[in-house]
Symmetry: C2
Subunit: 164 residues, 2 copies
């Protein structure tokens, strides 16, 4: 950890800007979404993922992996969503341990009516403020960063180092 390379002015500007944007954008999108629909962003994300499957049904483990959520978090959150009538849990026939989330009609209705407004907010506060070139750059480098993290993640996941 010797002679750290600090961030230069442009890097610092980018990093601070990123952090600040992340915080403010999150707050605003969550605020608008909740006010308009009563859904939180996690609610929205869950409903969105489940509604994109043909059946409106999804295995918990798959959902957790897609969202990069811990199983514990998903389980807690689904319990709350279930109490509000947005989803139900069903048994998995092919695996006795498994569970399946399914949208209720109310859940389907909630995501359908929330989506247009949410997309509009994303446009208004982010996408439409970027030039096409910036949109492409954002798509490019975020995926690069994610791939890199997924690579180093593997080192931390419950896998053994190759034996000697």
């Amino acid at each position: 950890m010797d002679a750290p390379r600090w961030l230069d002015a442009r890097e610092d500007r980018a990093w601070r800007g990123y952090r600040r944007m992340r915080r403010l954008l999150d707050l605003e999108l969550a605020r608008e979404l909740t006010q308009a629909t009563g859904l939180s962003e996690p609610d929205y994300d869950v409903l969105s993922e489940v509604s994109e499957t043909p059946q409106g049904r999804l295995r918990l483990s798959e959902l957790a992996d897609q969202m990069r959520w811990s199983r514990s978090r998903l389980s807690h959150h689904l319990t709350r969503m279930q109490q509000r009538g947005l989803v139900t849990r069903e048994e998995c026939e092919t695996d006795g341990r498994g569970s399946i989330v399914a949208l209720t009609p109310a859940g389907r209705q909630a995501i359908d009516s929330a989506a247009p407004g949410h997309v509009a907010a994303v446009r208004r506060h982010l996408i439409d403020l970027l030039t096409p070139a910036e949109v492409d750059a954002l798509g490019a480098f975020t995926h690069r960063v994610v791939d890199h993290l997924a690579g180093s993640d593997r080192r931390h996941s419950p896998q053994r180092e190759p034996e000697v």
Copy 2:
């Protein structure tokens, strides 16, 4: 809310990439920071802000504004940091209501020893993966988005509409 303009393929790629990056990057940076130093990211941010003042002392309201934290959140968090001996609270002489956060020696030591590693992690997982042009683009559009949000925020803050 009629005829929503959905995100096209590139916009969708950028938006999904951003969300995924945000989540994974947060997790990884927090994980490394906590493992190396025992500090959480919020801890780090608070210590970082306070340590950048000449005295290592800062008015609570100023700190809250700079960090875009609610006063409540800040108060709760400082209470926890205080219990761990990282900061202390002092009275403000010029304003009887006010409080001041001050770094303890332990707090100073914590941020000093945490900073190099944290910056290195930010480089390794983000900055060094971007081209210089991408760094500049990130700096540019994040600030644009923040300014836009700050502008619309004003409409929601506790201010009156101009009276008739």
